[in-house]
Each structure stands twice: as C-alpha cells, then as structure tokens.
Amino acid sequence: MLHAHLSPGPLPSRMQLTKDGKLKHFLTIEGLPPLLLEEILDRAEQFVTLPNKQQKKAPLLRGKTVMNLFFENSTRTRVTFEIAAQRLGADVTNLDIRTSSASKGESLLDTVRNLEAMNADMFVVRHEHAGAAHFIARYCAPHISVLNAGDGRHSHPTQAMLDMFTIRQKKGSFQPLKVAIVGDVLHSRVARSQIHALTTLATGEVRVIAPKTLIPAGIEKMGVNVFHHMEQGIADVDVVIMLRLQRERMQTALLPSEREFFKLYGLTEERMKLAKPDAIVMHPGPINRGVEIDSRVADGPQSVILEQVTNGIAVRMAVMSMIMGPQGGTA
C-alpha cells in the first residue's frame, strides 16, 4: 500500500514485545510487564557475578552486529554499550552521526536504510528528539532490533534498569521503599524511565522533588508525589536519586543561580540525616559537585554512584542477550 506507512503504528510499549511476549526492541519501560523487568534484573545478576578478572566473555551474540547510532554526543553511555556487546561476543560499530550523514542533510530514515544495508542486527540509538528510537523501530527492517540509549526527554530505559538493579542489590525488594528523585525532572529522560520502572516494580512511594519550574505539569499522573521542599521530600526515604543540573537552566529563567539551587536542593550530609539511616545515594552521572550534590555525599559511604556505572554493563548485556541471544526476541 502506497501510504501504509502513514497509518499510526502500535504503541511503543506493544511494539517492543514479540507475539509471545519476548523483548524485540527496548524503547521505553512504560507498559512493560513487571515480570519482564525482573527477568532483566535476574539476568543482569548472572553477568555481574562473572568474576571481573578472567572469564569476562559470554559469547551469546557471536556473529551478531551491533551498531551504535549516536546522534547526540555521549562517550560514557556509548562505551558501556560497546563493552556490553563485546563481552557478549558481538561485533560493534560506532557511528557518530553528527559528524557524518545527518550533518549533510540526509534524513533519519535514509540514514537508517543505509545502515540496514550493512547487515546490522541491532541499532543502539541515542537521539536528541523524543520518539526517535520508536520512529526507527517502526520503519527499520523487521530483523533489526532497536535499543533506546536516550531519546530527547522521553526515555532512557537501560539507565533506569541499571538503577533498579543497583536498588535491588542494596535493598532487596521494592515494595517497602520510598524513593526520591531530586532535581531537573522536566528535562530528564532518566527520571521518566526511573518513574515507570519504579511504579511497575510496585515501589512503595515515588517522590519527585524540585521547584515548580523543573517539574512537568501533570507528572503526578505518572504515579509520583510531588514535593517542592527538599527537607519534606527527603524525609524518611530509602533511596535518593539526584539528577544532573545543566548550566543552561540558569539562562532560560528556570532557576536564579546554581548557588540558590544548591542551597535549596543540593544533597548535603546535613540533609542526608533526614533520610533513613541506611539510605543510598544515586546519580546517573556525570555529577556536578557543589551544584546538585556535595562531594562528601557523592564520595561518602552511602553513595553507590560508581557501582551504578559497573552495573550498567551487566544490565546492558542482559537486555542485549534477551533480545538477540538464544531464545531471545529475535532468535
């Protein structure tokens, strides 16, 4: 049909599962069943227990080709995907699209078509616009899987899952937990994915803490409680997730100054005393010391920030192998 592609596709959440409920794409946490999220965490557990020294590789993806399509710059995230794919035995190609075709005016769809022709099995996509990974998943060849590595402010599902992994590692189960997400929720794809993951896993209470300028209207419909005062929001929580605050926010009248933000919302040792004594501190990185978090907290005993980075590789291995490995969604 000439214009078949104009008809609206299925919801992203349905598109990412095969008919028998296996992961085909990983675009968003929204709409995924809790069991599937737990399966990701369980599988990541296996990869994390592989001793860090000798046997690092589990060649489940031998012969597969993973292409990292980064339309937006991010060395750290790209590297963790690269390591994850390599440990699974896949071939990895990195494409920094900003410096190639897109800057010559090629449309996203044409870029995708060209890369398809190079026998890719998976695209790991980062793009500045919300819905870009969903768009690619809808229009790419049927044998290709898309893994969303961040689209605009929409979604960053593997980051959220590595955070869930870290929380489960430290706290066991989600039901009794109070989790606070602090800072620039408005611009944060990480926060949106964390909220979906936490609510799907039946977390006791999810809070967001920020001034009104950094909280998107209608966020409470996602199942969170909104706090505008740090002292109230952080009281009695088990997990504090700090979000990165970008400098641009001061330029667009969202905040008066970094100093005032730190004064009101910065995570200090003082404020940590309001949380549960065994509360953990998380941050998706890169951190701004003295802007959203005090160094003594970031480097302190309650911080699990570096463990998050390590867990990122195991979680990305888990997701990739669930999609492309034996018995995977595209196996």
Partner: protein, 424 residues
Amino acid sequence: MSLLIRNARVIDPASGLDGQRTILIDNGRITALAEASAAFAADETLDAKGLWVFPGLVDLAACLREPGLDHKATLASETFAAASSGITTLCYQPEPKANFDNAAQVKLICDLNRRSHYANVEIIGNLTKGLQGEHLSNMASLKRAGCVGVSNGQQPFHSLQTLRRAMEYAATHDLTVFIYPVEHALAAGGFMHEGEVSARLGLPAIPSAAETVAVAQTLALASHTGAKVHFCRLSARMSVRLIRQAKASGLDITADVAAHQLFLTDMDVSDFNPLCHVMPPLRADRDRDALREGLADGTIDAICSDHQPHEVDAKLAPFQQTAPGISALETLLPLTLRLVEDGVLSLPEALRKVTDSPAHIINNEAGHLSVGAPADLVLFDPSALWELDLNHMHSDGRNSPFGGWNFNGAVKRTLLAGKTVFSV
C-alpha cells in the same frame, strides 16, 4: 442551461427550511424553491429521492500551497478535494511561503483558480507586510482586490502596538481581522499540549495559557479599537469562556474551531503519531468538551477544516521534526455530521456551522438556499457508509489521522453555480 432537482429533503439552516422541496436552477442561481408538487420545465431534471440537499460548505481555513509550495499540493488538486466533500467556497489562509501583500498576488490566485474552478477561493490578505508583524500591509488595495479579511496567520506581531495599529487600520477599511490567538513567547519550542501526556512523552509542550493570554489581549484591543475580530482555531477551554463573556458584553467578535479539535485530544499523540501533530496542539479531554459546548451555545460560530496538506516525507520523522497540520478538507463534513450523531448539535445547527455562519463571517452571499442565491449546493446520500482510506483521498496530502474511521452519509454530487463539479 437549467436544472431541476426533485424529491430531495432540502435543509437550509439559514432560513430554517427542512422538508421536501423542488429546486430550480438557472444561470448559476436558484430561481425557484417550491413545494414538492410544483411543476417546472428544465433542460435537465434530477430525481434526488432519498437524498438531502443543503448549501455547499464554506470553509474558513485552508492552506492551498500554490504558488510556492506546490510539491505539497496545488490549487486544482485541493479545490477538487473540496468539491468532492461538499465544500464550494474556501478561504486561502496566508502562510509564510504563500501570502498576499498586494492585488497582483490576489489576482494570480483568482486567475489560477478560474482554470479548474472546482470551488470558489476567497483570499484572506496579509495584516502586516509579508506577515512579518512589523509594517501594515496595503489593506485598502487588498480589500479592493477582493480580500475578505486580513490576518497575520500564525506569525507573531512585533509588538502589541503593531497589532493595535493594524486593528485600527483594518477597522478604518471595515476589514475583519482574523487572529490566531497565540502568545509566541509561551508557545515557542513546543510541539504538543502541556499536560500529563507531554509529561510522559517528554515532548516540549505548549500550555493552554499561550492561547488564552492572546485571546485576552486581543479582546482588550478589539474593545479598544472597535475592530471586527474573528478568532481562528480555538483549542483551549479558557478561550471559550473568555469569548463567551466578551460576546455577552456585546463585543462584535466571532470564532471558529478546527473539526479535528472536536474529536482528538493529546491522548492521540501518546504513540508519537505525527499525523496528530497540529498547531494549535490537540488539548485535553476537558478542552475538547468545552469546545463542543461553545459550539452548542453559539460562542463558537463556525467549524473549519484548517486544511494543511503535506507530502509524505513531511510526516516521516521523529514527532518534533514533522510538519504540523492535517489534510482535512475531506473530513470537514463527515466530522461535522458526526457531532449530530454525538448529540452535540442538531442537523441544521451542525450544517449552519459550516455554511451560513462562516459565509456571514466573510460577508459571502453563499452558504444558504433561497431564490436568487448562488446555486452552490450538495446532494448528499445519508444512507451511504464509508471508511476513510488514506490511499484514496482526493487531496494531494494524505496526512489525516482519521484513516480507518467510518462515516455515515456521503456526497453524491456537488454543484458550484449550478455546474456539477463533483459527482459519483
């Protein structure tokens, strides 16, 4: 050449007529509108048993793309699409790449349209030069050239002072000012309605206040300048309320709504469907309900298509990178009639919102059926059932979110000045 239409149910919202009538058409005009039994001689007789006859639709807003954007659509393709769905008069909305600063540009469109002439095209001229929002356009000569009003389209004004002066100057020449109420500082960088869906999708959003702030400002200036203002494409609940109050206080204003705003909401964007990317954005349920109420109580005078045909590629990208707009001529009548099924309006009320009411807003003699009126009319089969198939749209733009929708009743024939411009 005379034409006799017999046995039709004739519905004329302007006069309140609804019954079996015989219509005689001669020389492009209605020359008799008589009891069913009346006998006339004519060159051609049409037995319209089982059909409805109502005035051809008057659409206040269509982007016709030619000249300048004819890779999207042409005057001929779009006016034929209009005729195929019962629209006999449409207003060419100015847009950045196709607008009207002088009489020659207006004449060009008239000449172009005369070649195919599937529908009448009326022109809304520029309120400011090149829609730049800075200098007044030559409104008097635009009016002399036949423009039915002036507008800045969706382009911003340099300042409220410019808007005020433009309104005063338009009022001097008794030109209706078509205002898209949008405060650009609040809307800039947004792609959808600000609410729970945008919070979830992370799409940069446009608050309802971007519209209502502009409505309030424009109302104040309308009252101050005495300009006749028509508000285009309302989308927000509070706008309806403000306009209702202003009308009650006696201000000479009118308003329209795009048909899609009465059926779709921001929930329809939740799968990043670029076909639902429109400006103003689809808003929440309660906004849609308020727009429907506004129609029912007369706050909103007219329903328009807000037709914006696009080539396929314009919608093949991540949501933010797609062009906004719906190819909407072919769903104006079906959606308007669906309001009757939904119990929002009676059949004559619904038809009035797309015939007589918009005709009044542009001072057009069309839009009603009476002796002496232009024979622009629609023969409509209320028993036909059909499904909108995007592949079979008449418009060059197939960008409709209503593909797959089922509709009751279809246009059988459209007459423009007594001439058949479409028939099945």
